[in-house]
Symmetry: C2
Subunit: 488 residues, 2 copies
C-alpha cells in the first residue's frame, strides 16, 4: 500500500497566525473534508507525522494530535505501520447543500387530529382570554422572593431534588388548598408540574392505554384534547348545559370512559357550575367503572361573589378524582408552575413510575413560590385581583349591554377572567374574531372550543383579566361593528 497523499490539500497554506482556528484544528478539518469527499481514498496511508510536520513547517505534536483526533472519530485507523484512512460507507456524503429540503412527512398519526387554532396573539392584545392582569402583578416582590430563594438555598438546590417537587412548596399548596378549596390532601399527594398541561399529560400516561375512551366537555378546554390525543385516546365530546357536563345513562353504557375531564367550578369556556347532583353521580359512576375524573380547577380562586364552591375532590372521601391546579392565572403564565393532587389510592402504584418519569427542577422558583404562599403575599395578591376582576367583569357586562348593539346572551362570569357571549348564528364568530385581530382585539371564537360545534356554540370568549375597564366601551363598540359587518 503506497502513500497517496494529495499534496494539493495544502496548496492553500495553513494560516499559522490565526488565533481563531489553531493549526491543529485547521489540519484536522482539511483532512476530514478530504476523507469525506474521497480525495483521500479508503485504505490509503497518511504521511508519517514527522514528515508532514517538516513539509508544513509546524510542530510534530500538532500533526499527531490531529491524527489522534481523526482516529478517535473513526476517520483513520492507527497501528504500528502508521495511520490509514478508514473504509467509510460508500453512500457517505451527499452532494453539498441542496436547495430547500423537501418537507419530510411526520409519521405520528395522532398529530393529524391536532387542529391549528388562531396564531397566538401578543399578551397585550385587548380582551385576550386567559391572561391575568400582568401590570398588577407585584413583580418587585416576586423578584425579591426569587433572589432570596437563591441566597437561602445556595448551591445545595442546584442538584436534582425530589422529582415530585420541593417539599416546602407541596406543604404550602396542601395547606392553601384545604382552606381555599376544600381539597383533602396531604403534601405527599401533590405533584408539582409544568402548568396544568403537564399535569394532564401525566394523568393520561399514568391512567390510560392507547385506544381508551376519554370524555371531554364540548365546548371545552382545547389543551385537554391535545393531551388526550398525545396518549392516542378516543375522545368523546359531551355536551355542556346550564348545570355543567351532561352525561346520559346511554353515554355511561355505550361509551364508558377511562378518563373524564371536567371544569366543575366554572366550566371553560361557558361558565356553568356542575351541580352537586351531577358531581355525586359522576363520582359514583366513575367509582363503579374504575374510571378517573380529572378535575381542572383552573380559575376558581377568583370567585367574585359568595363563598367559593368547593372542589369535587373534597366532596366525598376517597373520590376517584385527580385535582389539577395552576399558578398561571393566580400568579403569571410564564411561571409555568402547576400541580396535581393524586388520590391516596394512587400513591402506592404511581410511586415508581413518577420517580422515573419526572426530574423535578426549577427548585429556586418552587422555593420562592412556597415562601410567597407561606408569607401571605399570595393570599393578599389573590384578594386584590379578585376585587379587580369582579369590577372588570361588572364593567364588561355593562359595556356589552350598552354598546354591543347585537343580540347576545352573556354566560358565566361568577368567577375567573373571562365572559362568554353567545351570538345568533347569523353572526359567524370566527369571522368576527379574525377581523378583530386587525384592531388589536383578541377574543376567541366560541365555536373553536367545540369538537362538534352546534348552532349555539357561536359567540365570543372575552378575557377581561389584562384589559383596563376604561377601554371596554370602545372595544365592545368595535366588536359590535365587526359583528354587523360579518352578518350573513
Amino acid at each position: 500500500m503506497t502513500t497517496t497523499f494529495p499534496h494539493a490539500l495544502f496548496e492553500t497554506p495553513l494560516d499559522k497566525d490565526s488565533a481563531a482556528t489553531p493549526l491543529q484544528r485547521q489540519l484536522h478539518h482539511r483532512l476530514k473534508e478530504a476523507i469525506l469527499d474521497s480525495r483521500l481514498a479508503p485504505g490509503s496511508r497518511l504521511p508519517a507525522s514527522r514528515g508532514l510536520a517538516e513539509v508544513l513547517a509546524i510542530s510534530r505534536n500538532t500533526v499527531t494530535a490531529a491524527y489522534e483526533h481523526l482516529a478517535a472519530e473513526g476517520y483513520v485507523q492507527q497501528d504500528r505501520q502508521g495511520t490509514r484512512v478508514a473504509a467509510l460507507s460508500s453512500t457517505s456524503r451527499p452532494a453539498r447543500p441542496r436547495a430547500e429540503p423537501a418537507a419530510m412527512p411526520v409519521t405520528a398519526r395522532r398529530l393529524a387530529q391536532i387542529r391549528p387554532t388562531a396564531p397566538p396573539s401578543p399578551n397585550s392584545q385587548a380582551l385576550r382570554p386567559g391572561i391575568p392582569a400582568l401590570s398588577h402583578f407585584p413583580l418587585a416582590a416576586w423578584r425579591r422572593a426569587c433572589d432570596q430563594a437563591i441566597r437561602r438555598a445556595g448551591p445545595s438546590a442546584l442538584g436534582y431534588g425530589d422529582p415530585l417537587g420541593e417539599p416546602a412548596l407541596r406543604t404550602a399548596i396542601a395547606r392553601h388548598l384545604a382552606v381555599a378549596r376544600g381539597v383533602r390532601c396531604a403534601p405527599e399527594q401533590i405533584v408539582i408540574t409544568e402548568g396544568a398541561q403537564e399535569a394532564l399529560s401525566l394523568c393520561v400516561r399514568l391512567l390510560s392505554n392507547p385506544g381508551d375512551t376519554a370524555w371531554v366537555e364540548d365546548p371545552g378546554y382545547r389543551g385537554a384534547k391535545v393531551a388526550m390525543q398525545g396518549g392516542d385516546l378516543r375522545i368523546l365530546p359531551l355536551r355542556v348545559d346550564a348545570d355543567g357536563l351532561a352525561a346520559t345513562e346511554a353515554d355511561w353504557k355505550t361509551q364508558p370512559p377511562r378518563l373524564v375531564y371536567t371544569t366543575p367550578s366554572h366550566q371553560y369556556p361557558v361558565g356553568a357550575v356542575l351541580t352537586v347532583a351531577r358531581r355525586l353521580a359522576l363520582i359514583a359512576q366513575a367509582r363503579r367503572l374504575g374510571a378517573w375524573i380529572l378535575e381542572d380547577d383552573y380559575d376558581s380562586e377568583f370567585r367574585h361573589a359568595g363563598e367559593p364552591i368547593g372542589a369535587m375532590q373534597g366532596l366525598v372521601a376517597q373520590a376517584p378524582v385527580l385535582y389539577l391546579g395552576t399558578f398561571s392565572k393566580t400568579m403569571f403564565p410564564s411561571l409555568r408552575l402547576g400541580f396535581l393532587v393524586l388520590p391516596e389510592a394512587l400513591l402506592a402504584p404511581t410511586r415508581t413510575p413518577l420517580q422515573e418519569m419526572l426530574r423535578g427542577g426549577h427548585r429556586f422558583e418552587q422555593l420562592a413560590m412556597a415562601e410567597f404562599i407561606e408569607s401571605g403575599q399570595f393570599s393578599r395578591h389573590l384578594g386584590r385581583m379578585r376585587r379587580l376582576y369582579r369590577d372588570r367583569q361588572q364593567a364588561l357586562r355593562e359595556a356589552l349591554t350598552r354598546h354591543l348593539g347585537v343580540p347576545h346572551r352573556i354566560e358565566g362570569g361568577h368567577c375567573g377572567l373571562h365572559l362568554s357571549v353567545r351570538l345568533p348564528v347569523g353572526y359567524p364568530d370566527a369571522t368576527i374574531a379574525q377581523a378583530a385581530q386587525r384592531y388589536g382585539i383578541a377574543p376567541t371564537a366560541l365555536s373553536s372550543f367545540a369538537l362538534q360545534p352546534q348552532p349555539q356554540d357561536n359567540g365570543l370568549v372575552l378575557g377581561y383579566g389584562n384589559t383596563s375597564a376604561e377601554l371596554f366601551a370602545p372595544l365592545v363598540q368595535r366588536l359590535g361593528a365587526l359583528a354587523r359587518d360579518a352578518q350573513l
Copy 2:
C-alpha cells in the same frame, strides 16, 4: 309539600362572634352537610329566609346569601315558591372516612415496564454519576443574571411567550452549537424543552405511533427507555462495542426502527465514540427507511483532550437527525433547561403540533441563560469545568489503579463527568452499589443500564463531577473492600 326543616340542626347555636367562620359560611356548611347526609330530604322545602333569620337572630341577607350559594352549587333549587332541596344521587355519600384506602390499580400497561431503579441519592453523595461540580458553579453571577432578566424584561415577560422558547435564547444556542459542536442550524430549528427528557418525549410524540420499533443502546441511558415506553413503543436494545452502537444488517432488515436513540460522542455509560463509518451508515440507512436518529449530546462539552468530536447532526447536510442537548450538566441540574434541534425538513410539518403541545414558560430563566451565553460567562465557566473534570478524571483513574485492588477495566472518560469500571462477574455490581450507599457513596451498577444484561455489563459507573479528588483514594479503597465482601 310541607316544610320539613329539622330544627335540631340548630341545637348547637351558630357562633355569632366568630371572625374565622363568618355566619354565612357556618349556615351554608350546616345546611350542606344536612343535605348530603339526607337529614334534609330531597324535595323538602327550606324555611323562608325571613323566618329563619328571625329564628336564628341573624340578618336576612346572611340567610339569602347562604341559600344562593347552595343554589349555585346545586344543593337546592330556587323558584317563586321558595327554596327546595334538590334530588341528589341516591348513591350520594359513602360512610365517612374509612380506614386506609385500598390501592387502586393503575390501568396503563406501559407502566408495568418501568423498572424501579435505586432510590435517588442526595446530590452530595460521593461519586454519584451525572452531577456537575455544584460548589464550583458561579451562583452569585447566575443570581445577578436572573435578577437582571426580571428587571430588564419587566411585566411583558410575565405573559405567554413563544411556545418554542425565547428567541434570544434560541439565537444564543444556535451560535454556541455551531462553534462548539459543529451543529448546522438556524435559531428557528431550536425548541427549548424541560431538559433532555422532555425533548425525548416530544420526539416520541412527534415521530412515532404506538407499536413502532425504537432502537436504544444497551447498556444505555435509562431515561430514553422511559420516554419510549411513554409512547408505547416496542424497544429493541442493541449492543454497544468499542466503536459505539453496533447495528447489524439483520437488525435493519428484520426490525427496522422508526427511532434510533444514540449518544455518539461519548456513549452513556460505557464511553465509546461512534465511529464515522458507523455514523454515515446509520444516517444512510435511516434516510432509506424514513427513520429518525435522536442524537443525545449530553456531555460532549466536557471533552478533556484534543478537539471536540463534531455532532452527527452536522456531519452531512439534511441528515435525519434530531439533536438533543441539555444545560443540566453544563450549568446545573435543577435549571431543567434543554433543547432540541429539529431538521429543516421537520419545520413545516411540526409547526402546528408544537404550537398546540407546548406552552413555553420560564421566560426570565431563559432570558438569563441567553445573557449568560452571549456575555461569555457560559464559555468561561465551561472552560474552568473542563479543566477541573480533566484533572478529576485523571486522579480517579490513578486512584482506581492504585487502590481498588480488584481486577477491573476502565472504559470511556475522554469526556464528561463519569468513568465506567467493568468488573469480573464474580463481583456482583448491584450488591456493591447497594452496600456503598451505607457509606455515602453512590456509584450506579453498570448492569442496571442494560435491558438485557450480558456478563460484561457488570461494573460500576462512577461520577467524578461533584466529588473532590482528595477523597478518591479512600473512596476507591472502600469500594474495593465492598467488592471483595460481595465476591461470589
